[in-house]
Point group: C3
Chain length 345, copies 3
């Protein structure tokens, strides 16, 4: 892609990252790459021991690494204790999107008369901002987005193209909402009269803290009574479903395709692997990690790593084992009988 | 959120719900809340014995409850046999969205010349209504929606923002389609010539009955030949995938992240838990419930509750057990040998 | 649905399909249906032995079938070795969408000044084409789509309504992107400083080969460094999530609700069943098939069919077995002890 090229000197980078530079501070670089792929005008990084083998042969202008790996580096070094963190910051310095979206309202956007706009707000073509909305300073609303009535979006937040924020949603500062995500659709609530369903109007809202990111095509449903609550610094990947009145604690991260049923409370600093499912009305403690595609049907009250399921195997082998799963209780009972017979025999 | 406040007297509520009022019928209330959270101008409800403990301390103006729980209620009572149903109806009376969306076509909407519109239709900004579409009385099409050529949407239906209804789709009365959902995208059909795929045009449509709700970011694919059929009063949550030529019987409910493969027929009054997957070409009887994240690979011909999978456990414990799953057939065979040896020994 | 009717003679169809016609070549037909449902002006097909029972009673004008099934056919025959392939081609001949979308830019579309357009491009109402975009000949961009800055879309590609292509994405020829899908949203990358998350800007792009199809509401995330790569003739169903830097080989097919974690490489001619999950950083060989809802946590280096999970059973039976799963390692150890005791006894 034809991205806007930004150029920095190694000295400038060292200063921005708080890294110790060993090499020519005046050298100019214009990008970031892996140790293997880096060109001589790019910076590389070593954050995982598995890539140490690529260090001696790198053609990068400089490598961001921990002091302990300095010796085998053939080029300039940017030393810091957490080079992965340095990589993160450097990636943002070279982000071609940073600084795009000049402020202003595109003439095709439809913005209600009573909307309150902060400084330097950008609203893209075909966007719709309904009545009563408040957008903080430097908010960017992408093309095709809809922000529903009475919603508030905090300063520095960015809605990529075709995002939907429904009515009465509150979003904190510096949120990043990716295309196709929906914040504040109705929760799934119905009463049954014995014959048919009666809709329960979802009268609550959704509140997102500061620094929340939501991936493409994810959905966070509004509360039935009271709000669905997403804490500060919560990171949500693509294709995630968060049901009504769920609460997610600060700093938790949810990988792709996670589904969380209604009213479940997830603690702080939790990590849910891809495809994990949590049943409704559970409590998940702080610091819990759940591995990919696990099903959680009971509350987890202690931090730790939790798992369910079984990994894929050859289909013929799997067929033999899966059919035995249906006999498992019988197998256990027969084993107990044999043990008893052995002891008494 | 700053929602439009509606005020009703307890007598009015009792009449609307068919509830027996014990208390001051002239008292005005303006909202609904849980027993714990209710303010003195709100109505609370008791529909689940688990919340009985919150009844004595409630500050609500009145509580909607079953006659059997009347005694320990410290405030006015609205008695009815199914208070959860009462709660559903009351929630709709206090819905701030009800009555919004004044009829009319926003000047930025693009509506084909030959579209047939019922009475009191509302079409939001940036919406697109293609040629040959028919919208019934009081249909609301939200901002950014696209309704494809020749589709028909029944009276009282509401499309929230950024919904896509593809061409030739038929939607019954009072449908609610949430943001980001797609009705009538192509089913997944290809013929293989031994080397590559050849697309099978999806010539069928999608037909939704009356009173269907579809959640955010869900997709219902159009049929290959013949239509994908969703019955009356079917409720579909967010992030659900329904493949081509699936049929869902009346009054069934599908929780979030359900996936149903092609041509499977689900009966009436079925309930599929979150993340359930149904293989293609199955028949699921009326009245079947499947618990969350279960995999159904065979038809189910009797009503009842069905499950698969295993719940999450501590990761170290799980690793020990999961590796044994691959030995399960071997374990069963060895057990049988031991039993045989015991009998012959 | 009121679709544009196209009429062809059997002789014309035989010529287009390279089929041998046995019957009246001048007979006109105007559609395609199953053996059971076909009317006398429609062609039916027999591609699966399971439907052989419907052949004698069909009312179709002609049946597309393999030479071996000619005898029991009561009507005209279109014989070819792979009738399913013939059905695919015939379905496209009767596709009412083919030929719609006359070229031209709708006056409500917002197209940047520097966009390069091929011949016969169609851009629908409310679409947004950002700066630097290149659209090849006969590209169709549906209503409400957004194509981000500097993206390139190859000739003959079609974006259905409300598709989002983010900035810097490259799409080959003849792509079909269904409504609600998002190509090029940010991958899920963050560095942790011990207390909170720091975003890693996703500087790579997404490259789709030729003849790729992507289903409704699916998401393909852009690479962190380097691109997410989707090969030629890859078919992706609805509700699929493909994470950053994934690579999918040519001719592979992914069914609905599949999720693939970051940097995993899937080979050529692979087939992933509905709801399959692949962990990150894996290598999957060419020709691998994974059955529905399986979890793959290790690389698969040999072609074949792979599976995990267990099928649904009666809930009471399942409860008894699932609880035993947690004892499985214990069961295996106790069995080994019994065997040892038996041998030494």
């Amino acid at each position: 892609m034809n991205q806007d090229v930004r150029t920095l000197t190694l000295a400038e980078i060292a200063e921005r990252l708080g890294a110790r530079l060993e090499g020519d501070g005046g050298r100019q670089v214009s990008g970031l790459a892996t140790l293997r792929d880096a060109e001589p005008d790019q910076v590389a990084f070593l954050a995982n021991r598995a890539y140490l083998k690529d260090l001696p042969g790198t053609r990068a202008a400089a490598v961001l690494l921990a002091p302990g790996h300095a010796e085998s580096c053939p080029v300039a070094r940017l030393e810091m204790d957490n080079p992965y963190l340095g990589y993160a910051e450097l990636s943002r310095l070279f982000d071609p999107l940073a600084g795009r979206s000049p402020a202003g309202i595109h003439p095709t956007a439809v913005v209600a008369d009573d909307v309150r706009l902060g400084e330097q707000v950008a609203i893209g073509p075909q966007a719709v901002i309904e009545s009563g909305v408040e957008l903080g300073d430097e908010v960017v609303v992408g093309p095709g987005c809809v922000v529903g009535a009475d919603s508030r979006i905090g300063p520095g937040s960015r809605l990529h193209a075709n995002v939907t924020v429904c009515h009465g949603v509150v979003i904190g500062a510096r949120a990043i909402l990716h295309s196709g995500c929906v914040i504040g659709g109705d929760g799934f609530g119905f009463a049954h009269d014995g014959a048919r369903w009666h809709k329960i109007a979802q009268l609550g809202g959704v509140v997102l803290g500061d620094d929340v990111e939501v991936g493409s095509c994810s959905s966070i449903d509004r509360g039935a009574l009271g709000d669905t609550l997403i804490g500060d610094d919560v990171k949500i990947d693509s294709q995630v479903q968060i049901a009504h009145n769920v609460q997610i604690g600060d700093h938790s991260a949810l990988a792709g395709c996670v589904g969380i049923a209604g009213s479940t409370r997830v603690g702080r600093h939790c990590m849910l692997g891809g495809g994990v499912g949590l049943s409704g009305h559970l409590t998940i403690a702080d610091g819990v990690q759940v591995t990919g595609m696990s099903l959680v049907t009971n509350s987890i009250l202690e931090p730790g790593i939790y798992s369910s399921g079984t990994g894929a195997m050859d289909n013929a082998q799997w067929r033999r084992n899966a059919v035995r799963f249906k006999q498992l209780d019988d197998i256990a009972r027969r084993l107990a009988r044999l043990e008893k017979a052995g002891r008494s025999g």
